[in-house]
Amino acid sequence: MKRFAWRWLVICSLVVGVAVAGTAAAGVEARPRYGGTLRVAMHAAPASLDPADSTQADSFARRNLTFLLFETLVTAGAGGRLHPGLASSWQASSGPTLENQRWQFQLRHKVKFHDQTALTAELVAASLRVANPGWKIVTETDSVVIELEAADPELPAELALPRNAIVKRTADGKLSGTGPFHISDWQPGKKLILAASEDYWKGRPYLDVIEIEMGRSFHDQWMALELGRTDLVEVSAEQSHRVASEGRPVAASEPVELIALLFAHDAQSPVEKSLRDALALSLDRGSIRSVLLQGTGQPAGGILPDWMTGYGFVFPADADLARARHEREDVKVAPAWTIGYDPGDSISHLLAERIALNARDAGLTLQPTTAATADLRVARIPLASSDPWIALSEVAAAAGLVRPAAHGGSVEELYAAEQSILATQRIIPLVHLPAAYAASASLRDWKPSVDGSWDLANIWLEPETGIR
């Protein structure tokens, strides 16, 4: 028996050896490890962590910070699929007059704020009233009821937005949330240190501490990563080529940021409509993507990216200079427009310059400016949600347009709503960009979700940072 066993082992070893050698370089699966400090750098420098503070610029970084500290009643997964958050269930009123007008959200039990206060309907209602002063919100034992003036089937998806995160605000201005991390130190706009919440209702995060440095340029972030001084950084579009060429893996979301031209007001005449048409037709989005954005992102003819709708390709994104000139020639005198850009954003500046060149080829005059009162501006709009209706609604609001109503929510209705927004000529889509990040090799289970959000509660660090 023993002799047979050894012969058997030798033969097996030879046969399997090749396969083993082939996979020797493969990684080793290990269970997540607790402990360690994650160092993060970001470009955004919010002065407030309050999710309802509308004076702070929207950014993926700010959203991700919000969800480290706070939680919403409903959470949105990939494709806008909704999941219970601080609400364990929800119901809408029915009937011909009240359908989707009165919504009741049953709160999850045994959830505590970081200051150990229990989550109650009153605290939830108070939080939602700050973010939505126009809503009528009442409480019932363990639930919150929102009564709307008009039916809104998308209300649960709207409650998944960061601005609707549940916050306990104290009189002295302190904020407390229910999220996986609590604030350990906060220097507004500079540095934020978070510590794991030991009794977090979904389980303590693996990490002990997250240190976040704010207001760091993309170049500084990259250098810090290269020097091993940080673990997770943002990668801008203009860096992507260099980062890839240096062999550093970049984790990117689906294209989730819309760069578009926003006009300050409606077209005042058929002449102005023709000129806006001419400008839209003159835009060489292909060159913008390949040259200015180093091949990152996708040219956008529509507001929503193709992965979100499945029909994005039907909106033409190619330049048609002949038609642009034709539209321009129908107008005797074309006024010079100013095109605004954010002076702190190099991409916006480059885009404004390039668009002015494209426009000149069609016979239009655009003057780039950093003034706030431009005729049109280059806008970077992080899409608010992977739910296409919510994303479209928020873009419409950013452009100063009426939010579309999602009556039935079918893809045909979505297309019609998007088409009607484009028909206003207040917005000309340019490019959809992904949110991209680079990380040190010590990060495990790290990957941004399709909408660019982090899940830092579920990542962990290699053991040299310590097992607790």
Binding site: W6, W8, L9, I11, C12, S13, V15, V16, G17, A19, T23, A24, G27, V28, E29, A30, R31, G79, G80, R81, L82, H83, P84, S89, W90, Q91, A92, S93, S94, G95, L98, N100, Q104, P156, E198, D199, W201, K202, G203, R204, P205, Y206, D306, M308, T309, G310, Y311, F313, V314, P388, V411, E412, Y415, D445, K447, V450, A457, N458, P463, I467
Partner: protein, 446 residues
Amino acid sequence: MHAAVYNSVIPKVILNTVKRSSRPVFCLCVALCFFPLLPGLVMCSLAADWSVPEQQLARKIVAVTGPGAVALTVENRSSLSKRESEIVSAGLHSALETLGLRFVKPEQAAATVAISLSENLNAYVWVAEIRLGDKVSIEMVSKPHVDGVVSTRDSVPLSIRKIPVWAQEEQVLDVLVLEENTAPTHIAVLGPEDVSLYRLQGGKWQREQALGVAHTRPWPRDLRGRLIPGKDHLLDAYLPGVICHSTNGASLTLSCQESDDPWPLVAGSAGGGVSANFPSLVASTLPAIPQVGGFFASTRNFFTGALAPGVGKFATVPKFYSAAFLPRGRYVLWLFAAVDGQIHMVDGVSDQPARLNWGSDVASLRTACGAGWQVLATSSGVPGSDSMRAYELPDRDAVPVSAALDFGATVTALWTEAKGDTAIAVTRNGETGSYEAFRVAVACNL
């Protein structure tokens, strides 16, 4: 008043009831009928019915073009396979012909119709761009995605085989087969909040009972748990800081207490603890392996390293995720998959650490192959797609004795079953979030 319930746990997260309940049944039937052919088993196959969206889109197109001659193109921009897209294309042609369209070259056509088979995250989206003179019309339909097909293969020389036992959307920590049958008909499924008992009746799994797992503290992340058949009762459930025992009364209940008592590392027959549900084990003459218990950290995902009883002179070993043993002539060699990534080989006298590039989960299997005992160890080539391989350890060198068995998902649990000759592996699909439990067995090919 509250007619519509928008709790996504019920209508959205869970797959449709028929499919969900029938899937394990189907898999088990296949396993029963084709057990010898399991290496090539295709687990489940769901054929899509495209006729409804085909007809919907055809009607919309004809509403624009009217009957007559059109030039039609169909382009696949989605994840549909070439074969599937050809089937859809043929179906669209047929549906359009039925409604009075004839297909001609573009120069002969009154209208051109370009159909794109596209998709978004939730649904297939078919878009028709219709050109009628200078006018362009867009029509579209959508069809929600169906779950994909998963297939696995493994190969010689010693084969690890995985037999599907259970699948569900909710988290599974462990599955205990409550009888000796090769094809299970009575199982317990451990989740974070309950132990569910299922019985196969009339070809369908019926949930007999759900026994709540009482706990006061939130569970730690990467929650782990284990079901073990009881000696004089149905089962015990071990979770971090909580131990539950089923009670035999008029009706089955589960009694849970907060407890830091050690978890048995040798379950079932090997440890001499035999349930009446396993009659062959009661009569077994195989030597029992001395029981070793490991203390599990109540707020973490690993064993603390404290053992009770210990292994020889070792009452503690480094913190570990899992343990396996290999009986030798006069002693038992214990293998601890430590949190530092090393495998600690402890024989009672010495602790020999080694970097074997194994994963966190190991389990012992008693087989009729080779040395009679093998160790199953997990590893990962690509994130979210773990594999498993069998090893022997002559002279404490790990020798692989099987090819790797890919799971196409993350292995979240691996525990030896009561009889010791099979193990239960639980996997989590990173994309769908669903869980599957497999019985893992080793077959001798030489």
